[in-house]
Symmetry: C2
Subunit: 376 residues, 2 copies
Amino acid sequence: MLKIVKNNKKARTGVLNLGGFEVQTPFFMPIATKGAVKNISIEDLQSLGAQIVLGNTYHLWLRPGDELIKQAGGLAEFMNWNGPILTDSGGFQVFSLGARAGKNFGKNGVKLIEEGVEFSDPLDGKKYFMSPEKSIEIQLNLGSNVVMVLDECPPFPCSHDYARKSMELTLRWAARCQKYFQQKAPEGSKRPLLFAIVQGGVYEDLRKECARRLVEMNFDGYAIGGVAVGEPRKHLYEILDWVVDELPQDKPRYLMGLGKPEEIAAAVEAGIDMFDCVIPTREGRHGRLFVWNEENPTMTKILADKNFYQTINIVNKKFEKDFSPIDLNCDCEACQNYSKAYLHHLLKIKEPLFLRLASIHNLNFYLKLMRVLRES
Amino acid sequence: MLKIVKNNKKARTGVLNLGGFEVQTPFFMPIATKGAVKNISIEDLQSLGAQIVLGNTYHLWLRPGDELIKQAGGLAEFMNWNGPILTDSGGFQVFSLGARAGKNFGKNGVKLIEEGVEFSDPLDGKKYFMSPEKSIEIQLNLGSNVVMVLDECPPFPCSHDYARKSMELTLRWAARCQKYFQQKAPEGSKRPLLFAIVQGGVYEDLRKECARRLVEMNFDGYAIGGVAVGEPRKHLYEILDWVVDELPQDKPRYLMGLGKPEEIAAAVEAGIDMFDCVIPTREGRHGRLFVWNEENPTMTKILADKNFYQTINIVNKKFEKDFSPIDLNCDCEACQNYSKAYLHHLLKIKEPLFLRLASIHNLNFYLKLMRVLRES
């Protein structure tokens, strides 16, 4: 499924065919939560060289609805994106709403039972029921090229006992998703990939068992979930070590929801192929911009010195009269056209153009990081 | 100064040289109040074919300050705009703050006296004093290509007596602006134009007298002010009739702050060359989008039938599943890339990308309107 072009110890580069598009791995997916990458147009995404975007099943189900998007010809067509799409399953949003296995309550009246998750739309109170089958149905309606199984994401900290119960539920739901997917997904070239999600908290035995049992079920790819839920970062690298060795070489590996540039570099070194994260756009909107310290970065340099970049806060008084660009070596629209002083001014007056330029700059940083990691 | 290319009764097309840029008249200026056209980048403005933008002296004086912009090389350089700039004088903002001649109070502690206007920054309470000389000094610091005199804008309704007193003040301020400008403005090719502003309320005698006396003082161009202050629209066409006949043929004429498409067309017919208005961007941000009813519009058609366009409200339920573009004949980014259903969705979820696309679409409508008026 994943054509590996080059290996370097655990790290690898390759090509993944998604819905007719050849995607170079490892890659980073900008997040189009509600069918748009916040403040960013399709032309921006194309100029940035983004290869694939991520849509959120939970948000799109509520608004504008998966049936409407199906009528539009799928999410890519709806948002005019000429490329592949990965959709999450809604599991993480259910987690955010406070749903926990064995506890039939949470925020917004959320209720998690064996069958699935009941919750209310925070905006209008309308009731929804998300089952593993429903999640797949929605994702197929969205025309996703990479469909994720519905999982339960345990919080941090959580006991071994809870993590096991949660993992067993995730495994049962993965089986239901797979069964439904096999019945309903289109065949042939239009068939999307179905990815399972490895859970198990910070417990080595559970993570390995979960990975092994999912691999036995033979999915198209494997994600590592439950790693951006507030746990200390040292656990991340342990979990990567435990899980990656259990996964097959020829299937893509996706680290969900991470991370900082140095974490992404370390995860690529550990054998991960796919990433998504709100950091570049969210940090950008708050004025925190990534700047390369290395003029000619390589993977070796990046792994050797985690100061390969810095984050500047453009609102800082010292940029008020700094008429140079954010990053002299950056080819993004913000750096090519505007000075730090101008961007500082735009942020101070709350001009929305700032949000777009900052998002573009930080996404460009992340996409360049991925290119550097691929090329080294 | 204005090279007239073609006349049609009172209407005319021409070329105006502004800071080395040849600008085709009649033209519309997008408004970059605080040094940016809200939600719109410089690349957007260039793609739209905007010829000139307007900056607001009052706002830029307060933030980031005219001295900083001077250091940046002027407003065009600061915002990376490769074209000419017109700056207003701050007079209209002073009017908005509630300053009135002969009444030493208003909103935010504003005080209007012979010497000028004292006011406080609404954000931090810092005191400012705007005199005619100060307004010109700021505009020269901003590197403006068309500098406007400081005027007093009478409210509507106002008595003949008040309108006369106000007009006399405007004339005295115009003389002070001219004197200061002659002393301080750069010479040669870098010399900006200085425009006077015709006031006089809705009174024929005052409007004509004001125009005549300003023409005697020999400015580079003449603006008509005080016409977007809540007066019934019939007065607009009267005022245009009264004033335009008093103005010299070879000087540009600028109708400040107007208007709707049919008003702009009528004003071009009446002999106006320059426009600025918040309508396209502000209406766009609220979901109201302009759509041509004429596939091949001409000035004759536009003047004959004011239904040459319509305004749709994209938030309307009927667009929820309308997968066609806003306007099939529009070449803007919004119409080329997205459906009404998608834009409806973006507005409903309050996605900032909507604000940009709606502003681009409506500006494109206005700029096409000006092209049609120029070419017919």
